[in-house]
Symmetry: C2
Subunit: 156 residues, 2 copies
């Protein structure tokens, strides 16, 4: 059973959409159709998804589909904090604990491609550890790990 089916993923998505809507309301921002659909797609794919993949999916649904469309939507969602960019993959994933979060961490399975976001608490701890050790004023931190997830390790 793929990881994407180990839980009620529709519930994930609807929660994520609710959160995004709420954040928009709080900040006086607009959750437009394209933005909403991009966010849904990011969640539905469940795996890190490239901008051009999203673009293709939008296109199939009759949305306008030039690169700026999807990049603008992604920029908005990144800013809102409901999506993260995984720079080692040039891909985007939904965030399951948004807010005003600047530190991110992912575990990326080499086998199945799933990217699991590390718990905010752990990331924060890592960040703080690093702040203490170095005389930099750290603003953001991002951590990307690769290896095998528990599932793939077991079946390997």
């Amino acid at each position: 059973m793929p990881a994407s089916q180990q839980h009620d993923h529709n519930h994930c998505i609807s929660t994520a959409m609710d959160t995004a809507r709420t954040l928009c309301e709080q900040r006086g921002l607009r959750m437009t159709p394209v933005r909403r659909r991009v966010l849904e797609l990011v969640w539905q794919n469940h795996k890190p998804t490239g901008a051009y993949d999203l673009l293709a999916q939008l296109s199939e649904e009759g949305f306008n589909s030039a690169p700026p469309t999807v990049y603008r939507a992604l920029d908005f969602l990144l800013e809102l904090g409901v999506v993260h960019r995984i720079s080692s993959l040039n891909a985007f994933v939904g965030c399951d604990h948004p807010g005003h979060e600047h530190d991110t961490g992912f575990f990326i399975c080499k086998e199945c491609g799933n990217a699991t976001e590390l718990p905010a608490k752990e990331i924060k701890k890592l960040h703080e550890t690093l702040v203490k050790k170095f005389s930099f004023s750290i603003e953001t931190s991002n951590h990307e790990l690769t290896g095998l997830c528990q599932n793939c390790k077991a079946t390997a």
Copy 2:
């Protein structure tokens, strides 16, 4: 005084070149002119440098200069462990403590653009912390932090 002049940078470069040459000898690999020159350029620039910047510099010097030339050299140097890729910048930097190292961490100053590699020991500790906490079998870890370096913080 720019950070690049706070130390004997030529010494850095020659040390790095020596190390690379030694690693090549140990592993029966060839340090060819292009590879050597790319490594020198990466070090000379002192800041994370894009592949196409390196390509332009090679070109000025009369080297062959099509993208594969520089990407192949970079791949070789990455594999050798004497260069790292900073994925959030799509750029490359020299490694000052090579060997067979898979875990990397950088502090990238938003102001001056310098990327400082975090001490291997610290990175290793971070990595181990994460290994213990999660049931993934982690193979590589990369950590990228942004903020202000001590220098830029002081002069700001």
